[in-house]
């Protein structure tokens, strides 16, 4: 079951307000504001140490990272801005706007498990379906092979560079590439999952699995760092389950959520699977 461990931040949240920036803020402004807000959150968390429950800090960090990822990704920001405009105009009672709100890329994507469930349902209700003992992945293969997924000729190559030296255009490209990589890797990912399932009985997310998924998607740590604004040392710390790099469970969980979201993984499930690992961890 997908455990919902996300803050009460929905599509209706004012991400500009959360980061404290105007609507015409540039990419640089957004990043600067995000880093400033993070610093503030850490300071306030220390100043309220022993008074403020951990969940509150976690919620704030998650809220900030969601806001950042929504606004720093140019395509997601476009969709978000359009939705906001439509919503604002509908409040004014403007009947001329008939546009369908742009559905965000996220909502279009079902989690891989629910997609399999759909397939199984379709199969069982289809009298021409294959025998029941056929493994699920071949059913998926059949479904997908009818679809003709067009992979891009070559994915743009983001050579490793320090976050700060990236130009605006470079950063925009990283976001666009990430979306492409996430979309185009789905088939390979599904194969990977079913292999894991057949080996271990049940797919459980851990550091190694996350790393393997990232590699299947051909996403480098640099790219992930650019997109999430989480430093590579923490991202690799998650993959290596090196808890000593993190000051506390709160920060580990916060960064883990950023990681999972960037790779379009079910955040609740990932957190749940990591729970026993976190509880047994030695923090620095």
């Amino acid at each position: 079951m997908i455990a919902h461990n996300v803050a009460n931040v929905s599509e209706d949240s004012d991400y500009y307000q959360i980061l404290g920036i105007p609507e015409n803020a540039s990419m640089d402004d957004i990043r600067e504001a995000y880093e400033k807000q993070l610093e503030s959150a850490h300071e306030e968390s220390l100043a309220a140490y022993s008074l403020c429950p951990e969940e509150e800090t976690e919620e704030r960090l998650l809220e900030l990272s969601l806001a950042y990822m929504k606004l720093a990704d140019p395509d997601a920001r476009l969709a978000y801005d359009q939705n906001r405009r439509i919503y604002a105009e509908s409040l004014v009672g403007n009947p001329q706007i008939q546009e369908e709100p742009v559905v965000s890329v996220e909502k279009e994507k079902d989690s891989w498990k629910s997609r399999i469930r759909k397939v199984i349902y379709l199969r069982s209700s289809n009298p021409d379906s294959e025998k029941t003992d056929q493994p699920v992945h071949t059913i998926l293969d059949n479904k997908f092979s009818k679809k003709e997924i067009k992979l891009p000729e070559s994915l743009p190559d983001n050579s490793p560079r320090e976050l700060d030296s990236k130009t605006l255009r470079d950063r925009q490209n990283v976001f666009r590439n990430l979306n492409q990589k996430n979309t185009s890797s789905q088939e390979r990912l599904d194969t990977f999952y079913t292999t894991l399932d057949s080996q271990n009985g049940k797919t459980s997310y851990n550091g190694l699995v996350l790393k393997q998924i990232r590699e299947i998607k051909s996403i480098s740590l640099e790219e992930l760092a650019t997109v999430t604004c989480v430093r590579q040392i923490y991202l690799s710390g998650i993959e290596n389950e090196d808890f000593s790099r993190f000051t506390s469970a709160v920060y580990f969980k916060g960064y883990l959520q950023c990681y999972a979201k960037a790779l379009e993984l079910p955040v609740g499930e990932v957190l749940n699977d990591f729970k026993p690992l976190i509880e047994n961890a030695q923090w620095s």
Partner: protein, 314 residues
């Protein structure tokens, strides 16, 4: 002649700079022309004489408590700074940390009769009743905090414990003792768990409860000095603590100022020469001077506190 202002310097955590600050604050006040008595009330952990560079004090609190010395004026040890005397804890005996109720009362009454403009109390670490009671007695209640989670947590614990101690003491005067005893229980019938909830509960109760809590809030006014500051970020912790204290406790905590972390401080105690005398133009003393000015001006706004504790069964 009654003393003008009693300053108490506590903080909960050990080693944050209470003795450094109280010693040098005493010196700065004396240098400004005031008559100052410094009292080392770190019972069982007296260090103030070292920070002041007073060699081998030959009398102190223990003698007064043990009645070898009857008059508190005879306890006062002169220092190298004109107008500043010290009540030392250097020769304190083994029983001093466990001062009896009557002994404490005798000392407090005598202290209030001292002829001085300022009485500065250097308190010990922790939240023992003997420490908290001296803190509550003061007109200016100062907490020394460093920007580390250990000190921050201890400071909040100190604030909560002393506030509750004050409430418990004074509730009898308002006929609220049974209510208060219940409210201060961890699992009380009212479902009150934090100071904020307790304050709200009493305010809403009306009658003597509302008057009581408002009077307590007026006399409980802790102030904070942020010591051993290393960065801009550290300074912001100070203001963030003011906000956190109001948000989670419903109590006003005021930041009086910040003092930079400086090698000169520990060097001064090694040399046993107070920094205010040796390096008055150095950074830590400059910062402390600013704080001292704040304290003096705050004190002049705030009339001498007719401490409810003096009337209570303390």
């Amino acid at each position: 002649m009654r003393p003008k202002q009693i300053l108490a310097i506590g903080g909960g955590k050990g080693g944050v700079g209470k003795s450094f600050i109280s010693g040098n604050l005493g010196i700065l006040l004396a240098q400004s022309g005031y008559k100052v008595v410094l009292a080392d009330l770190d019972l069982g952990g007296a260090n103030l004489h070292t920070w002041l560079g007073v060699n081998s004090p030959d009398r102190g609190l223990s003698e007064f408590v043990g009645r070898e010395i009857d008059k508190i004026e005879q306890l006062l040890i002169p220092t190298q700074v004109k107008g500043l005397s010290l009540i030392s804890g250097a020769r304190d005996g083994v029983e001093i940390a466990n001062l009896k109720h009557t002994q404490k009362r005798r000392f407090l009454n005598a202290m209030k009769r001292l002829n001085a403009d300022y009485i500065v109390l250097d308190l010990g670490a922790g939240t023992a009743y003997n420490t908290i009671d001296f803190f509550l007695l003061a007109d200016t209640q100062l907490l020394v905090v460093i920007p580390e989670p250990t000190s921050i947590e201890n400071a909040y614990r100190f604030i909560k414990n002393s506030f509750y101690r004050q409430l418990r003491h004074n509730s009898a005067n308002f006929g609220l003792k049974p209510t208060m005893d219940q409210l201060l229980k961890v699992d009380n019938v009212y479902g009150v768990h934090t100071p904020k909830e307790l304050i709200a509960f009493l305010k809403q109760s009306g009658g003597s409860a509302t008057v009581f809590i408002e009077e307590q809030l007026q006399t409980f006014q802790p102030k904070m000095i942020l010591n051993q500051v290393r960065s801009e970020s550290d300074i912001r912790i100070g203001t963030a603590m003011e906000a956190a204290c109001m948000k989670y406790f419903g109590l006003t905590l005021k930041l009086m100022g910040c003092i930079d972390r400086d090698e000169e401080v520990w060097q001064s105690v090694l040399r046993r020469k107070p920094l205010s005398v040796e390096k008055p133009d150095g950074v830590p003393v400059q910062h402390l001077k600013k704080i001292c000015k704040e304290i003096v001006s705050e004190g002049s706004k705030w009339p001498e506190k007719t401490s409810l504790l003096s009337k209570s069964s303390l």
